[in-house]
């Protein structure tokens, strides 16, 4: 009832207001045309001081005493467009783990603790052309925070645990990349404009993200992070002379690195053929439409006329697109676009909008009309005046803070533009005439040269998109991770080449009779994780399904037992635990992937051996051999000459979920009639995780039958 009363009161009030409203208004209100606009005071913003060190590092110092803060920002040459196609995502991972992985002397977590308690930030980042490391701190903390900055700049450690977190984050982003229609449209529009394989368009896949190793991150840092590739800008509440002395003390002795090759023209652009492209998405009621082509670079002399054209055609409230598509036709909430321009590489010519499914074709046609109308009704003097006024009157907002000026200067320095480029920009915009704007519009924007992408609920469209022209469907299915991909393609039967190769492997290991005589074995192994001290393992296996592993740890022996009935783990202070079925199965799979076990069964029809293609492992051209049937899938990479297995591929289950495993086998040694690899280098999802070195192997050892029983609960103290 409360609500009703409120409404009633509101209505009564509203009526009263409407009565009193008019008489209260001034009889002769001023008009906006009569309001004087005095000239803007001359504003010469302070330019930063530029310093070039002998080692090539460029420093800009911008004093700004408004607040007691000191911030630093860098631009370092080399970005994701330089990363290899097989490792797309490298720079993203690098730019996260550079910070989270810590320095040689401090972990990323320790840095977090230190910085957060000071409300300070040191963060790293990466983009298509450059990477960065920035800081922000209260001025009293500058010395401490700057130390962290320098340490991270020069001594990053890229600790593997943080690589794992970054990679998982990337897998998560990949898995979510088709959830939002806007994200899909933007990503695919860029691919259409630049070409799907263009370094500015491509995106990480599970496989390319997984292929990035710690060494890649170290190598990237080693290649690019040298003083001669770095521009450093410092702004805030400091004295420039004192700051210069501090920075020189920190960086003068840093040796110059090799000069990077100029790569400006290496990148290839292959825009998609003009026409219609569609991505069907049933869970939306609005179509997202992008019409794209290749744009220009800012050093193009047409850039200024293009800027004015863009403002008039697809910029703000006054633009033709906004007025026609949104205001006049009410077809879209967001609509706009223009001939895009970047500093280092061509921008994207792009017109984008969102419209309800039922007006999709109507909206595309409306934009088409607006483009065609440019020829019939060129942009008028009045429109040009308005566009230039808008740009020039807002020009002050590019200079209204010392930070903005600093950022502009760093950009010009990075891309080799003149330091006074912004002044030139203002002067050139003033010169643009209507004829110039119309000329560039005609030159770059052609309706029949655009690739039109529609992401939407195709069944609900007003007309089929094909009524406009031939339509190509774009498949945005996310390629599954390499391990899961293999699942589909995995052979389920042997082929003769596979059988022959398996027999060759068995022969090279010492022959089938000797292999089959091994019923059990005992091995001493040293396992080294990427971090931490080597761990001695004592492994006893009784084929086909029993295993006992003793791990020496500083807190006492950890024991793991696998038997057909159950699996256990016990450790002092932790007591005895039964392992969950998933882990038990994982251990059994590992046991069944033992080389001897598989080689014992080369003639067993329950096992399948299928030879596939050739793959290089190191310098050796190997033949792949997929094994399945009675054992979970594993792939051997066999040297056809020697019959030795150089690598294994398999799927594993780790502490944090399924992974794609890869083990390189080497150091083959003869033991009691068999030849076996003594060195196993293990990778998970392309990341080096551990090395297993066999110290000693013994076949058919005497085994205490109690070894595979449920271990007694060990007393012990919690460390």
């Amino acid at each position: 009832m409360k609500m009703k009363r409120t409404m009633l009161v509101a209505l009564v009030l509203a009526a009263a207001v409407m009565l009193t409203c008019l008489p209260q208004s001034p009889a002769q209100a001023v008009s906006w045309q009569q309001i004087p606009i005095p000239p803007l005071p001359v504003f010469k913003p302070q330019q930063p001081k530029r310093i070039e060190l002998p080692n090539g590092m460029v420093i800009f110092l911008q004093e700004d005493h408004e607040l007691p803060l000191i911030d630093g920002t860098t631009r370092i040459r080399g970005g994701s467009h330089h990363e290899p196609a097989s490792k797309v995502g490298l720079v993203d991972l690098y730019s996260e783990v550079w910070r989270t992985g810590g320095t040689k002397t401090q972990t990323g977590d320790q840095l977090d603790d230190f910085l957060e308690v000071h409300a300070a930030k040191v963060e790293t980042g990466g983009g298509p052309d450059s990477t960065s490391i920035n800081w922000s701190c209260l001025k009293g903390d500058f010395d401490d925070v700057f130390k962290v900055f320098v340490d991270l700049l020069q001594n990053p450690e890229f600790r593997p645990d943080k690589i794992e977190i970054a990679q998982k984050g990337m897998y998560d982003a990949i898995s979510r990349r088709n959830d939002q229609v806007g994200e899909i449209a933007q990503r695919e529009a860029i691919k259409l404009a630049y070409g799907a394989d263009n370094p500015y368009a491509r995106v990480p896949e599970y496989a390319t993200a997984a292929a990035v190793t710690r060494q890649d991150l170290i190598d990237w840092h080693g290649t690019y992070v040298h003083p001669n590739n770095i521009i450093l800008g410092v702004s805030g509440d400091f004295d420039a002379t004192a700051m210069e002395a501090k920075l020189r003390a920190a960086f003068d002795s840093w040796p110059k690195g090799p000069t990077l090759p100029q790569d400006k023209d290496e990148v290839q652009y292959h825009p998609a053929p003009p026409g219609y492209y569609v991505i069907s998405k049933e869970d939306v009621n609005q179509s997202t439409i992008h019409m794209v082509g290749l744009g220009i670079r800012r050093d193009n002399p047409d850039y200024y006329a293009v800027s004015v054209f863009n403002e008039a055609f697809g910029g703000g409230f006054s633009s033709r697109l906004f007025n026609d598509i949104r205001t006049k036709r009410g077809l879209a909430y967001n609509v706009g676009g223009g001939i895009g321009a970047n500093f280092g590489h061509p921008g994207i010519l792009q017109i984008e909008m969102g419209t309800k499914s039922q007006s999709t074709v109507e909206a595309v046609q409306a934009v088409d009309e607006d483009i065609e109308n440019l020829a019939k009704n060129p942009i008028t003097e009045e429109e040009i005046k308005h566009a230039k006024d808008a740009i020039l009157n807002a020009f002050i907002f590019r200079l209204d803070s010392p930070d903005k000026i600093l950022a502009e200067r760093i950009t010009y320095e990075f891309y080799g533009y003149p330091a006074d480029w912004l002044d030139k920009y203002e002067a050139e915009i003033k010169k643009v005439a209507a004829a110039d704007a119309n000329r560039v519009g005609m030159k770059y924007l052609h309706r029949d040269q655009l690739a039109t992408l529609v992401v939407g609920n195709t069944k609900e469209f007003d007309k089929p998109l094909s009524s406009l022209g031939p339509v190509k469907e774009i498949d945005i299915t996310i390629p599954p991770p390499p391990g899961e991909q293999g699942q589909e393609a995995k052979p389920t039967a042997s082929n003769p080449e596979g059988k022959a190769l398996a027999e060759k492997v068995a022969a090279a290991m010492g022959g089938l009779p000797k292999l089959q005589s091994v019923k059990s074995l005992h091995a001493n192994v040293t396992e080294s994780e990427a971090q931490g001290p080597p761990t001695p393992l004592d492994v006893t296996i009784a084929f086909p399904d029993r295993m006992h592993v003793k791990v020496q740890t500083p807190n006492g022996d950890l024991t793991i037992v696998l038997s057909p009935d159950a699996a256990y783990m016990s450790m002092p202070g932790m007591g005895l635990r039964s392992l969950p079925p998933a882990q038990k199965n994982e251990m059994l799979d590992e046991l069944h992937h033992d080389l001897i076990y598989i080689a014992q069964h080369v003639n067993d029809p329950a096992f399948t051996f299928s030879a596939g293609g050739n793959e290089k492992v190191g310098d050796v051209q190997t033949t792949t051999l997929d094994i399945g049937g009675a054992v979970p899938w594993v792939r051997w990479y066999v040297d056809p000459q020697s019959g030795r297995i150089l690598r294994e591929d398999y799927k594993g289950l780790g502490q944090s979920g399924p992974f794609h495993g890869e083990t390189d086998l080497s150091d083959w040694r003869a033991v009691d009639g068999l030849t076996l690899p003594f060195l196993h280098k293990n990778k998970q999802n392309g990341q080096e995780t551990s090395t297993s070195e066999f110290k000693q192997v013994q076949f058919n050892p005497p085994i205490d039958p109690k070894l595979f029983e449920k271990p007694a609960e060990k007393a012990g103290t919690t460390p």
Binding site: K2, R5, V9, A10, L13, A16, V17, C21, Q24, S25, A29, S31, W32, I35, P36, I37, L40, F43, P45, E66, L67, P68, G108, D112, F114, H118, A119, L138, G140, I165, K168, Y171, D172, R176, D179, D283, N285, Q286, F317, S318, N323, T327, K328, G330, A332, Y333, G354, T355, H386, D389, A390, N393, A394, I396, F397, L399, D400, S401, E460, G657
Partner: protein, 514 residues
């Protein structure tokens, strides 16, 4: 005390010394506040760093004030505030005004027929629709499209925009300082003589905005359902953008009524920050904003949300990756424990030292991101403290929920450490300082605090309030609020056939102007 804590303590001393330059006293000198006779509050903050200024007009009315059956009206009016006045955007206001009155009459007749439950005459409906659209075409003849926005743009307007949320409606942009008077004219004029021109086309634009943000976005769909579940009685249960059927029903007359009721000068604060001299600026602002007619504050009694007594759950099956969200009812922003919630937000969510990051992302490796925050969906009325997480591939929403609950249990059972408490307080001070560095941010914050507390100085007192938070406060509040029966859960589960959008559009004839 550990070495780290010692350093933090030393830092706090240093910081309080530094903060002198950014305290209330220094801002007293730079800030002028005046409440005009009509009730409107003007706030001017001098910041002569560059010859520009930003403003922020805050109207203390948002979608919470939308009338029943007319959700989305506050937001709709915000769009209309860009459509011009009786002098801007028209070739002949007298004729246009008459034409607009005919549009309203035709629309009312059309809606009456359309919404007849019994005996609707389809032929008549078609005629009425045509009459309405013809009336629109007639009124459109007098329109100078977007003249208001164009004027601002042409004069160098930067970041021109506006927003509506549950609590308030706000308008903002920046201009070169020589346009202060022009701005004062335009900004007062839009609230003196708003004209509901091109209303039904703009309504279609707003409907597209709804499709963009809510209907075609799995997270948008979840949030709408989540709010509706968490709030049963208070208007926070309705979407700000409006339900589709309301959007297809309300009229320009309704929007005008909303304006007349809620855009009361005493409900408005206009803050200006930048290169403005109060001696010159204040008289100008008084002259222009003083013109707004005064009238009574609307009656704003609304239903209070009753206490929740059982967990509520919303599960959306979507063609999207999983998401977990949960919210607990808490009192409004004026509650004495407000700063305690701020402290909990910081502790749980801020940066890589935050508890949720360390637990879910770093240690358990089950989520790509997780955080907790206050203010869903607003702050003015009792609202929610929410937690959320994006599970990593291969992990479930239940796993991340369990991990969040484990962290909440820690809040309830263990005191936070001295280091953590100090970190929270240090960051509150540093964040305040960082927020003072630009005109737009200053104008926004000053207008907001002036509106919410009646005194801009409260912005600087937030730090004092956080300083008073104790470990016991955090445990007490966590035990009070974070209980199962006070919880609403919202989940996105992945389903290949989920989220299907069929022709949920209104039946033919209800789509508004095409």
């Amino acid at each position: 005390m550990t070495h780290r804590a010692l350093k933090a303590a030393a830092f706090l001393l240093l910081l309080s010394a530094l903060a002198v330059a950014q305290d209330v006293a220094s801002f007293e000198k730079r800030i002028t506040v005046k409440k005009l006779p009509n009730g409107l509050t003007i706030l001017i903050c001098q910041r002569p760093e560059a010859p520009v200024f930003s403003f922020f007009t805050l109207v203390d009315a948002g979608s919470t004030q939308d009338p029943m059956g007319k959700t989305g009206l506050a937001h709709m009016f915000e769009h209309m505030a860009f459509k011009g006045t009786d002098k801007i955007g028209t070739t002949n206001y007298v004729a246009e005004n008459a034409a607009l009155a005919k549009v309203e009459a035709a629309y009312a007749a059309y809606i009456r027929e359309r919404d007849k439950q019994v005996g609707r005459d389809e032929r008549k409906l078609k005629q009425l629709e045509k009459a309405w659209k013809d009336a629109i075409a007639e009124a459109d003849k007098y329109v100078k499209p977007n003249e208001f926005g164009k004027l601002i743009e042409q004069n160098g307007g930067e970041d021109m925009n506006a927003f509506t949320n549950y609590d308030e409606t706000a308008y903002h942009y920046s201009l070169p300082e020589n346009r202060l008077e022009l701005w004062a004219y335009l900004e007062s004029e839009r609230f003196l003589h708003p004209v509901m021109r091109e209303f039904y086309k703009e309504r279609n634009v707003v409907i597209e905005e709804r499709r963009l943000r809510t209907d075609s976005n799995p997270i948008g769909r979840l949030l709408e359902q989540f709010d509706a579940a968490a709030f049963e009685a208070h208007p926070y249960h309705r979407p700000t953008v409006g339900w589709m059927s309301d959007l297809n029903s309300f009229s320009a007359t309704d929007a005008q009524k909303f304006f007349d009721t809620y855009y009361v000068p005493s409900n408005m604060v206009v803050a200006v920050a930048g290169d403005v001299k109060p001696a010159k600026a204040l008289p100008l602002l008084e002259k222009y904003f003083g013109r707004l007619p005064t009238h009574l504050q609307p009656d704003e009694t609304a239903t209070d949300e009753p206490p929740q007594n059982s967990e509520r759950r919303v599960v959306l099956k979507e063609r999207a990756q999983p998401l977990y969200l949960e919210g607990y009812h808490r009192p409004d922003y004026k509650a004495k424990d407000d700063a305690v919630y701020d402290a909990i937000t910081d502790l749980m969510s801020e940066g890589r030292t935050s508890r949720l990051y360390r637990s879910l992302v770093r240690d358990k490796k089950i989520a790509s991101f997780s955080a907790g925050f206050s203010g869903l969906p607003g702050i003015k009325y009792p609202h929610l403290f929410a937690f959320y997480a994006f599970p990593l591939p291969g992990h479930t929403t239940q796993e991340v929920a369990d991990a969040i609950h484990a962290e909440i249990d820690r809040l309830k059972k263990e005191d936070i450490t001295d280091d953590e408490l100090k970190m929270i307080k240090t960051r509150a001070k540093a964040n305040l300082i960082r927020g003072l560095a630009d005109n737009h941010g200053l104008a926004t914050q000053l207008a907001t605090y002036q509106t919410r507390y009646g005194d801009w100085r409260e912005l600087f007192r937030t730090v004092d309030r956080i300083d008073k938070v104790t470990k016991a406060d955090i445990r007490r509040v966590s035990n009070e609020i974070f209980v199962d029966t006070n919880r609403t859960v919202g989940v996105i589960e992945t389903s290949p056939g989920g989220g299907k959008q069929s022709a949920t559009e209104p039946p033919a004839g209800q789509g508004g102007a095409q």
